[in-house]
Symmetry: C2
Subunit: 593 residues, 2 copies
């Protein structure tokens, strides 16, 4: 067994904990987490962005999803940790596993700050009959993790007016109205992106997500932002004070909530962490409701949409230039995954408004592309030859927005199977992007439009078709998305004009190749008639889909028209920003088929 | 104001009830209800199968859904009742309406036997802040409804072995295991179709649904069937006793549950009526869970599938003969909606195994077909001319199964618009019927496959694409269906092999025409590979889709192939059972396009 696990097991035995959970999470249920919070990775060695480790006094199990099966198998090899492939036949969910294995009187431990109140409520309800003991307050990892990085403490700032869209006071007024509507006096905020949105605050404490570590408290008369000392400059502090926002130390948050009394609190169990809920729920009068911010921020403002179109245009130019460079250079010499990633990363980061990448660039050649969330490292760095395909999934954080795009590039000879799959994935992306639908539709109602071209041929991809995209926030933003395995607990949002969602079907053959094609889609109004308000999508992403991978004979006339129309727009938007040589090339790669 | 409403309002004033609810329901939340329960129809005059009447001391409002807007407008005309079109912009839901209008201290009355516990729980939660008084025990309608029919009390019987599929004891054992799994001692059953399924019992107390009025109680040691005295013959009684089923009077049920104590009851709030819940919930220990029967009975047994295929074949022969007769006769003379309905009804009822129709036949000519659930009466009976279209939606209850089919027939000259719409509806039906999908899909994930051909042209139909079909039970059976406006509260079932769902898109132009094409689809396994178990549909319905309404130029090659394949099967299955003349005609109406 891996030595870090053995250390943990010794602590568990000392404290009489029989089962210990280590999720991939921080105190704010962020998707990307800063190094301080990478306990699961530290213990298991598995570097994927999703997974939960369960350690017993004798064994250890890691649950992760289909994106990471291949990667987890490799990284867990020799660790003694059992890989549990979530969603596969015969693999129990963690809750079911605990229910089946835990005996009456045994203790389940975890750090309650790393779970939302909802998650723990569900687990407790599920294990109700088992009569096991829950220990909500056990951080057993940081005490043994000697070389753990300290909490990130990067400078934070307020977004300039032209990028913020809506003012802080307008947003605070909206949230106060929501509290009033729910007969509540106050609310605590945990989500870093919600807090960033509310206060037009940005920072740099989480990789690829421009947010600052923070908590917040809003009542009818008070607004408190809890941030680490020294992260805000005096201008930002002054501005926040203008908006009557108090600033208090991040570390004082739990003492603050412990001091709250005689108030009715609006509680969103999907946002509040379990540790806080344990502190508050028995002491305060609580009103439960879903968060107002999480539904407000996904409908982008006019200003945000204007901005995001600008940044997507520049992002499209960088990607097109990258594609030109890649397809030209590979004819001259071999490349490597890292070199390719560096080229596109540098193009993006050279932008005047660039802050960061929106996630670590996936540059995956050949069989590596079958690892859905493959991340190139100096060790894995494969040589790229003038044959097969390179999958590049990447994006940027710009002051005017966030981008996410995937293209798969044909580098030389490819098999008939590869062409068939490449064409199928393109058809899949087009079918969803060209959907028209009535208001009331969720992404889960439309997901099968993307999957149908694959399903009818007996193929599938083991990931959602798409996710919401934040505006200068997390590149993955819920609750709008395209998936089909929904339940009453995780139903996705009804699609509304102003929402941005990715459309990224793929096909992966383990040990051979991987293909994914991703455009961002903006939901907007189409026609209104006696049936109601119809909606449709507008592309935000304009970069050629490599025609070298397309067999027009495998497409219907309708599908060819969709692709031609898209490429026509790509040329019109991107060509003016290219060199003569690049423009000639783009003409060819956006030609009618 | 209609005099029945005035009578009710006088009662309300006498009893100090400010708002009174009259749903379309019986004590068993049946969809079709027997005459005794048609209180809403008695009060309002609206004869549709769905709707809720809300009466205040001064006003009256009727909510109904898109299927009935036109019909309700006609039937409510002059009644003084305000029509509330559910789902339309600006029309509040009943709960929101009550929340907006009811004042603190006002009283809302209803008969709790007519609501499920879940429905009332939701309404009470919704009105929590209004501080209104709920009166759960007020049946104010039967006391004023002088000429109301008594409760139906028709003979009931046990299904012969060859039709039952699974034995009573096997089913009871299954339900007891479910109770055990949930640590419960007993359960009460309210749904007439659930009770019919569990005891292989059939009757004739509800129009078009071969069930008997009954309640049931099952514990680890007892099984009690509460039916009206005298409805069971001695053979059935004897058989039930063999299975250790006690028989008690229907009327004694509430006294029985009032006597229950010291037991842990499994409660399905979607099944138990509110009146019972009010009686029991504070007295007994309760475990909440969804009903086992309602999910078991929708996956048909091998025997049921074998039987239903037989009855669908015969039903297809009758419909095909009807189509032949209709299209031939209309060339010779005018017809009427009633005459057409009588012809198909008589064909079905002449079947050796026929028990009843599965719902009142819809025979709707021309603009009448735009009224989605139009029901022909001697007053409305339109003359059918050799032009335009006739929509016939009908089905049978046979000892070996239940059928539901809609065809729209071209009777002579039709407009270009009608041909376009007819072809579009056919494409819509075909797209869903030919879907292939992974296990885990719900009908709500697939619904848009049917709607896409319409939506992309800016059309829609204001009803679900399809509903589950019971086996010699209700023709509408949940929770599998095809819809898209799902919420966490009404999520449809994950589709499984053995489920039967209708596929019935349509198009309706008020004042002009209506088109609907409906086949029943059986869900079954397709291929299994590394992605999981794929599923597909098999048609149960084999009747030509009128090629006179089809413009092949408006269909893709794929769509034409789907239609040709279907018609090829229709010919193969139906032709051997026709006269020479009919067979020649069928050849023409199933020809390749």
């Amino acid at each position: 067994m891996k030595k870090e696990i053995i250390l943990l097991q010794q602590e568990m035995i000392r404290l009489q904990v029989d089962y210990y959970l280590v999720p991939t999470s921080d105190y704010h249920h962020s998707e990307y987490i800063s190094d301080y919070f990478k306990c699961r990775q530290y213990l298991s060695g598995f570097t994927g962005s999703a997974g939960t480790l369960l350690v017993t006094t004798e064994k250890a199990y890691l649950w992760t999803d289909g994106r990471y099966f291949i990667q987890a198998e490799q990284e867990l090899s020799g660790s003694g940790i059992v890989l549990m492939k979530s969603g596969m036949d015969g693999v129990p969910k963690i809750a079911d596993f605990l229910k089946a294995h835990m005996k009456q009187g045994e203790t389940l431990g975890f750090d309650g700050k790393l779970y939302t109140a909802k998650e723990m409520e569900k687990l407790q309800r599920h294990l109700q009959d088992c009569q096991v003991i829950f220990r909500h307050d056990l951080d057993l990892v940081h005490p043994i993790w000697k070389d753990c990085d300290p909490l990130s403490c990067e400078p934070a700032y307020l977004l300039p007016e032209q990028y913020a869209g809506i003012s802080i006071s307008e947003k605070i007024t909206g949230l106060r109205q929501f509290l009033k509507d729910h007969h509540a006096d106050c609310q605590l905020l945990y989500s870093l992106t919600d807090i960033a949105w509310l206060f037009n605050l940005r920072g740099n404490d989480v990789a690829n997500t421009p947010v600052a570590l923070a908590y917040a408290y809003l009542s009818m008369t008070q607004a408190i932002l809890f941030v680490q000392s020294g992260v805000l400059d005096s201008t930002s502090i002054q501005k926040l004070r203008q908006y009557h926002v108090d600033i208090q130390p991040y570390e004082s948050f739990y003492a603050f909530i412990d001091s709250l009394s005689d108030t009715t609190m609006l509680i969103d169990k999907h946002d509040m962490n379990d540790a806080s809920y344990q502190l508050l729920s028995n002491r305060l009068s609580c009103v439960e409701a879903s968060g107002w911010i999480s539904t407000e921020k996904i409908v982008k403002s006019e200003q945000e949409l204007l901005n995001t179109k600008n940044c997507h245009l520049r992002d499209g130019i960088y990607m097109t230039k990258f594609m030109y460079w890649l397809k030209k250079t590979i004819k001259e010499r071999n490349l490597s995954e890292l070199e390719a990633a560096n080229v596109i990363d540098q193009l993006r980061l050279s932008d005047d408004l660039a802050l960061d990448l929106s996630f670590p660039t996936i540059s995956a050649y050949g069989k590596n592309a079958a690892i859905v969330h493959y991340s190139v490292t100096p060790e894995s760095n494969a040589t790229i030859y003038p044959k097969g395909m390179l999958l590049v999934d990447s994006g940027g954080q710009y002051l005017d927005g966030t981008t996410d795009i995937t293209r798969t590039f044909i580098l030389g000879p490819v098999s008939k199977e590869e062409i068939k799959c490449f064409t199928m994935v393109c058809r899949s992306m087009l079918h969803l992007a060209n959907a028209r639908f009535l208001t009331g539709c969720r992404g889960s109602n439309l997901d099968c439009l993307a999957r149908q071209p694959l399903w009818e041929a007996g193929y599938d991809y083991r990931h959602g078709t798409g996710h919401g995209v934040g505006h200068l926030l997390s590149v993955h933003e819920g609750p709008n998305n395209f998936r089909f395995r929904t339940t009453a607990d995780n139903l996705d949002a009804v699609l509304l004009p102003g929402m941005i969602t990715t459309d990224e079907p793929g096909l992966y053959t383990e040990g051979k190749f991987g293909i994914r094609t991703e455009n961002e889609l903006l939901c907007k109004k189409w026609k209104r008639n006696e049936y109601g308000q119809f909606l449709e999508f507008e592309y935000l992403t304009y970069v050629p889909i490599d025609l070298d991978g397309i067999d027009p004979a495998l497409m219907s006339q309708q599908e060819r028209t969709w692709l031609n129309d898209y490429h026509h727009q790509v040329y019109k938007k991107i060509a003016p920003h290219l060199t003569d040589e690049e423009r000639l090339w783009l003409k060819e790669y956006t030609k009618e088929i």
